[in-house]
Subunit: 216 residues, 4 copies
């Protein structure tokens, strides 16, 4: 069974600058390679994406290109840096634009993200990884993603500012190695399980609930 | 296939006082009944549970009774009230005691909560449901639970203090009806899928990672 | 004593569209008028502000114009909409750019935001106001702002999507009226107290701690 | 001018076990000693405090003893350990019991915590300090406390479980030294300023707003 994974690297940095978050993405991606999962990494900051909460915002809006990639993927990994203890503005912008998907359904009548699996990658020079992961994984469940156990991996340094992932050689950190291994395997396991056994469209389709506005 | 669901009603109120959270639990539970899922509701506050982070704390500690029920369940619904914008102290205490499960594995060598499914029920007279849900669902994924799409349901009133679920007839609120329906169905769907297709013990077992202390 | 207040309306909407957050800002602003405090409202989304964490990002970066206004103000009110349970991407972007102020000091050698007072205004159609306020007020304290009691005001509707502030006539909501009154008065009270009694530069100046990188 | 500070060490550990949080409290306390501020440390877990949201819960409830100490203090430092990325259940229980103070006023008609100053001390073996601080400082503002700049200090290790404050010699960590110094000085500075210049009872008294239930 072929699976596709998409990483959205929500760094603030425009390529080709080095991204710490990309460093940790690479650790996860190596597992996807071993597991035969095709993956792609894109940086939203390289696209022109206006602030908003619908899927199409007119001329010049490049979000639809990213949304097409998300729709084509079985696994979405939201990758981000921590700023001021929470997820980056770019990660928040991406989640806001995903609000537009509530206006659509899949063929079964569910939200279009149903039967996709979500995971999170976080790097920061310190504290805030739990906050980034919990908000993002929860938002993904609202959008329709399923979340396996141990669906996040992160690297942070100890209290206060300091070296970031690349400089600190975060890829050698035992906990980060463990969690990136477990996360990579679990999103693949669950994506395979759901591809063969999709969530039945019973008790979770939009039909009958159209009188309730889309959440945001 | 028979499934069992356990609700932990983490209200601060000792029975037999009426609990708003129990009101919303009942809405979810009615769906479990229709779906042929056996369910039980317990209030941790009715047990003698010392603060701590291991599974057994000696004489008088009644947590092991609750832990046995969790282990016997396929679905765990953490139900809680909001206080000061976040989950109740009783909900936090329960999560802390679950830390003890990291010291065990299931037969496959995974954390013992693997292949169980988690969901969340929240009530409050106002604001804070996202915070309660996101923290709790995320903690459950760390412990080994899988989370389906739309895995939480809540009722809150508008800004500021005011009537709570029972007085406000929260059971008639359209969004709460939708989310309790979707949540109930999705935790059951995913629990059935995982019961027949457990997460393979590949890349997610404790063996080989024992040098890393348990998370907390 | 003359005081100046600046509101940053971190709505996603470009003017001249109506902003719900501006509706609640107006409630607070009316109190500032009564109290003789000069105020200005600007929308960061109307400026060209690149993602980043320094104060000057080169040609076309309009953040320095906003930063000058912040520096000239005694009171900064961060106003924002809730999206997916947390503060808007525009609010997060503003906080990230304020990171650049850690590289400067005031005349006393403290962070340049010392002796300014912060407050928060939040609107959303539902749940998430506590999360927005707590993250933002905390970030402001790190940057150097002081926070008086009851420093936030918000309006949200009950559970799930629904009408927003303007449509719901949020300005008539008793709790929102109370909190906007208290917040407006308290930021002014504390700003006056600190203008006459600045926080002494003892035990809180950068000198001697330059070996520690700036926080982020 | 004499000031009193009270630390509530919301560790889960019953004395006389060593508490990591107490280790960091001692760092802050040393500054209070230098500054001539009398301080006391108590552990709520050593008292019999039922779960609840009012100030008096009847026979055997020892919360009123702690509340008396809070009322007698000019500075309240909430100290806590991180569990599962957020503040300990004991810290949450303390905040919940403080809900009861909304039912009272000071002589000026404000909430009884007005003109007191709050600060936060956090330790954990890893990630979560921002979450603990932001929730707690925000809750304190709602209750009536004022918050100076840089009002929190914490020590956490890098990603994942590992040694805690005492074992890791957290007291030697530069960022923790800086933030404990700044925090200690700033809560004292602001407490002194407010003792001589209390927040005027204008636009922030309960009178006239009694129709709005107490927040929670």
């Amino acid at each position: 069974m072929e699976l596709k994974a998409l990483f959205l690297n929500c760094t603030l940095k425009k390529s080709p600058e080095e991204s710490n978050t990309e460093g940790l993405i690479n650790l996860v991606r190596a597992h996807f390679d071993e597991l035969g999962v095709e993956s792609e990494v894109i940086r939203p900051v390289d696209y022109d994406i206006p602030f908003g909460v619908v899927s199409e915002m007119g001329e010049g809006d490049q979000w639809p290109e990213i949304l097409d990639k998300i729709k084509a993927a079985d696994i979405l990994i939201m990758a981000m840096s921590i700023w001021f203890g929470v997820r980056s503005s770019v990660a928040q912008l991406v989640i806001e634009r995903l609000d537009g998907t509530y206006a659509e359904t899949n063929e079964a009548g569910q939200y279009p993200m149903y039967n996709k699996v979500g995971g999170v990658v976080v790097t920061g020079n310190e504290d805030g990884a739990h906050a980034c992961s919990e908000t993002t994984l929860f938002n993904l469940t609202h959008l329709g993603f399923a979340i396996p156990p141990n669906a996040d991996t992160y690297w942070v340094g100890d209290a206060g500012p300091g070296p970031s992932f690349l400089e600190a050689m975060g890829q050698d950190h035992p906990y980060t190695q463990k969690t990136s291994t477990w996360m990579a395997h679990n999103v693949v396991h669950l994506a395979r399980i759901l591809k063969e056994n999709p969530i039945p469209p019973e008790g979770n389709t939009v039909k009958g609930w159209e009188h309730i506005p889309h959440p945001g």
